[in-house]
Amino acid sequence: MSATTHPRGLFDAQVISNRQICREHFRLVLSVKDFPAAAPGQFVQLGCRDPHAPPDEPDEHEWIDADDPGLRTRSLVAPTPLLRRPFSLAGAEPDPQRPGCTLLEIIHRVVGLGTARLAGLREGDAIDLLGPLGNGFPLPRAGQRAVLVGGGVGIPPMIYLARALGAADVGGVAVCGVTTADLLPLTWADGVAADPQGLPTRCIREFADFGIDAVVASDDGSVGVPGRVTVALQRVLDHLALPAGDVVVYTCGPERMMRAVTEMSQARGLTTWVCMERSMACGMGTCQSCVCRVNDKSSDDGWRYRLVCTDGPVFDGRVLIWD
């Protein structure tokens, strides 16, 4: 079991902005001092506490408790929710305003208590996080083309990956699937239309900025091409028509989607990097809660568990065993 090789730590973060970007998604930008170098595919564990809740430190109480030291303690201190929540980095770049700080971008969908707390964060609020965690995506070799397949809340790490591809001058195509139009956490580029056949164009700002064409697919056909992301992916791969060794597929999203994507791209002999998701308690490799199954010839029954938080979240599609 390899530990991450990146340094990781507990950091205080300041909320720079927190904006609702579609019906249920928010883009949260944090500034963090001395944050270690991070890579696409890595994630952070956010403390989803209410920054407006009372502090843990007892106040002074001169009157009621003049002779009542019991009043100086507080038994109800109840951060809610208890555990941190993991979120992929959708970006990490030097903070132009604050020397020594990194701007972290997180795009999250409100699905429960923790994400609802995050949605309530306001500029200037303080939260804390553990990170950067996990291994990150291996970038393509020079000359290879990247195909980024994101579904729903699996889209954010693809945004960060696009930035890294741009910096490494690697070309690529993004295929993004959503259930319906107002759950698309991306921005349409001004004046660039989506291709009605589902061929990639510079239509999504987050990708176009880094020279990457994109296709959007929606289950209900309310935006982009109708149907599952795999339908769009098939068309894109057919259209690219490159030799297997020249294409690398990256995928993140619901497990059923990633399985279908992996099976499709493996049938074509393409290298596939899969960014897995599991319920996590620690995020740092200590609790053993975040396992997924991988092939392991050395094991009696041919498989073993690996930790999504430290061995992953990115795994080679060939080693994963889908449940």
Partner: protein, 308 residues
């Protein structure tokens, strides 16, 4: 131990996994994840779920097994410069003894913490910890198998009378007791009508259980540990110095932080600072003075009301 703070078994890995976040050398001791004779894959995911002020886990004693532990992890533990306690688990007395005999030879291991209470494994783990005869049997077997190590028996809270299992362990040769392990519990996915955890049941830990754990520590302290002069390692929902003090005052000599490490890996260090503050505020020359200092009311009497 230079201070009472340790990490709870299973929440801080085998050695340095958690060392990026805090200087482990500040702790009083380090307690490893449960080690079994053979490697164990553990349960299918999901293995954890959050509940109100707590969490359920059903890891299923996933671990690398004794040999890989000795070969790969012990060298790292040597670097740590801390008393190391290895938590030992198993499904038959003989397994436990093989692990204990092997660890008895490993110098860096200061002591063994006997996990007779993990409620996740169906093959027997639970029964050792809930029956006094079994507690005595396994404790004396391990005592014999690892004569050179400090023997800590970790008690299960899923019992009618934890003082009885505590007494059984002490009579059978335990040098110390640790309590509590997790409470057997369940969360249901009401739409699918099945448990949230793939294993079905899990173990409840975290702040939700703290009042029960504090009660149990006090019960074991007042009925067993005090008169035998046996130290207690208290745990169950400790997050802050105030929580830690509840356990110390109830009778714990040392403290383990488990679930709270996931929330704040630096919690043990913050707790140490808070304990130092408390000593200053209360003019205590040593934290030791608070251990077991709880003024418990006479049965049926109550003490003078706080409103006086």
């Amino acid at each position: 131990m230079k201070n009472p703070l340790t990490t709870a078994s299973g929440t801080s890995g085998y050695a340095f996994e958690y060392g990026d976040f805090v200087d482990l050398r500040l702790l009083g001791a380090f307690v490893t994840k449960s080690i079994t004779l053979h490697p164990r894959k553990g349960n299918a995911p999901p293995r954890i779920i959050e509940t109100r002020a707590g969490m359920l886990n059903a890891i299923g004693l996933a671990n690398v097994g004794l040999e890989a532990f000795v070969a790969e992890k012990v060298p790292q533990l040597r670097e740590m410069g801390l008393p190391v306690f290895v938590n030992v688990a198993g499904t038959a007395i003989d397994d436990y003894c093989q692990v204990a005999r092997r660890l008895n030879e490993v110098d860096v291991v200061r002591g063994l913490e006997l996990n007779i209470s993990c409620p996740n494994v169906k093959e027997g783990g639970i029964s050792f910890g809930t029956d006094c005869g079994q507690v005595a049997g396994i404790t004396s077997a391990i005592r014999a198998a690892a004569p050179d190590k400090v023997l800590v028996v970790k008690l299960s809270p899923n019992v009618t009378d934890i003082a009885a299992t505590a007494a059984a362990a002490v009579d059978a040769g335990a040098d110390a007791l640790s309590l509590v392990n997790t409470f057997t519990a369940m969360a249901v996915d009401v739409d699918r009508r099945r448990p949230m955890l793939s294993n079905g049941n899990g173990g409840l830990s975290g702040p939700a259980i703290r009042p029960i754990a504090v009660y149990m520590v006090h019960r074991v302290y007042s009925q067993v540990a005090r008169k035998h002069n046996i130290p207690i390692m208290g745990m169950g929902g400790i997050q802050t110095a105030r929580d830690a003090l509840e356990f110390l005052i109830a009778g714990a000599t040392a403290l383990s932080v488990g679930t709270a490490l996931f929330v704040d890996p630096t919690a043990p260090v913050k707790i140490l600072d808070g304990l130092a503050d408390y000593c200053r505020r209360h003019n205590l020359s040593a934290l030791r003075e608070v251990i077991g200092s709880l003024q418990f009311p006479e049965p049926g009497k109550g003490y003078k009301s706080t409103y006086a």
